[in-house]
């Protein structure tokens, strides 16, 4: 079964990648990493050489930070929404 997943990006990521929202099609129950690989420019931004996610980006799956799910192995289902942005740290 194919899952439709909405990815929304914000702030400087929009400027860098030139888009706001995309719908990607993956196998249902794919991992977050497999979803990100569908968007190579986004994947390159978020994942380092050791295949680890950069910690300065907030990645939410249906409003919950993926660290509180299964990290990069979080399973993505049809209709899931992923929000990604680098929160500002300054003041």
């Amino acid at each position: 079964m194919v899952a439709r997943v909405k990815i929304s990006i914000y702030s400087s990521l929009r400027e860098e990648l030139g888009w706001k929202e995309k719908e990607v099609l993956v196998e249902d129950n794919a991992t977050l990493m497999e979803v990100l690989k569908k968007e190579p420019s986004l994947y390159e931004r978020l994942v380092n050489e050791k295949e680890q996610l950069r910690s300065d980006y907030m990645i939410l799956v249906n409003g919950i930070h993926l660290q509180f799910k299964d990290g990069t192995r979080t399973r993505i289902r049809d209709g899931d929404e992923i929000a990604i942005f680098p929160p500002g740290g300054g003041g």
């Binding site: 907030m58 409003g63 929160p87």
Partner: protein
């Protein structure tokens, strides 16, 4: 507690919006602002102008020339002076009805717990995630609302933490990101926009007991001229807030 003739005149335009009872709630309220830089300047100015009863300001910084593009509480003559004391003096001149307490210190866990206990609302106007997470924990454990904002470049975000009800900062940023090797780029107006919005949420929390950003984050994009919101959920496994009902 009542309003003097002078206070009724000073607050005339806002009394026409929310009335005397709401103004008295503001007059009774104590607010802690952590950081009096780019965000803290507009937060403190507007809350003072609005007639908050007491502001507690915490910052350990001394005014540097590179602060001057955005930290609008200060003048060039203040360079080299502790920001928190200069801020307190300016704010007392802006509105002598407001009690201002200035604490020159870097916020650590012990100070956070001590200060958070005695106020009604807390404002995060900090410049780093490490201290934000300390402040967040103190607010959650003392069940005090925390209005958060952070900025970088043309962008910023804002959310309100209501302990036990909404996600806390630890839910969305479980660990501080690695420190930067160079100063963060900041457009002068970005902390201005976010700081004014923080002050606006504090006013609503005091007057109406609610914020418009409970469980959702406002993301500001000053380059595109856009505001977006992201829906947030409490993390059932959050080590800081998940035990609160």
């Amino acid at each position: 507690m009542s309003l003097s003739d002078s206070e009724r005149e000073r607050y005339d335009r806002q009394l026409r919006v929310w009335g005397k009872e709401a103004q008295l709630k503001l007059k009774k309220a104590k607010v802690l602002i952590v950081g009096v830089g780019g965000l803290g300047s507009p937060v403190a100015i507007y809350l003072t102008a609005a007639g908050i009863g007491k502001l507690v300001l915490v910052d350990d910084g001394v005014l540097e020339l590179s602060n001057m593009n955005r930290q609008i509480l200060y003048t060039t003559e203040d360079l080299g002076k502790p920001k928190v004391y200069v801020a307190a003096e300016r704010l007392r001149k802006l509105n002598p009805n407001v009690e201002i307490e200035a604490i020159k210190a870097r916020l650590d866990e012990e100070l956070a717990y001590k200060l958070v206990k005695d106020v009604d609302v807390v404002v995060d106007a900090l410049d780093n995630w490490e201290t934000r997470l300390i402040l967040n924990k103190a607010c959650v454990e003392n069940r005090k609302p925390l209005v958060h904002a952070g900025v970088e470049g043309w962008y910023g975000q804002l959310m309100t933490v209501i302990p036990g009800k909404t996600p806390c900062l630890n839910c969305i940023m479980p660990a501080p990101p690695p420190p930067r090797e160079t100063p963060l780029p900041i457009v002068p107006t970005t902390p201005g926009v976010l700081g004014v919005l923080e002050a606006n949420e504090v006013i609503k929390l005091v007057i109406e007991g609610r914020s418009s950003f409970e469980g959702r984050m406002l993301v500001y994009d000053g380059l595109r001229g856009e505001f977006s919101t992201i829906e947030l959920k409490r993390n059932p496994n959050c080590p800081v807030c998940s035990k609160l009902g």
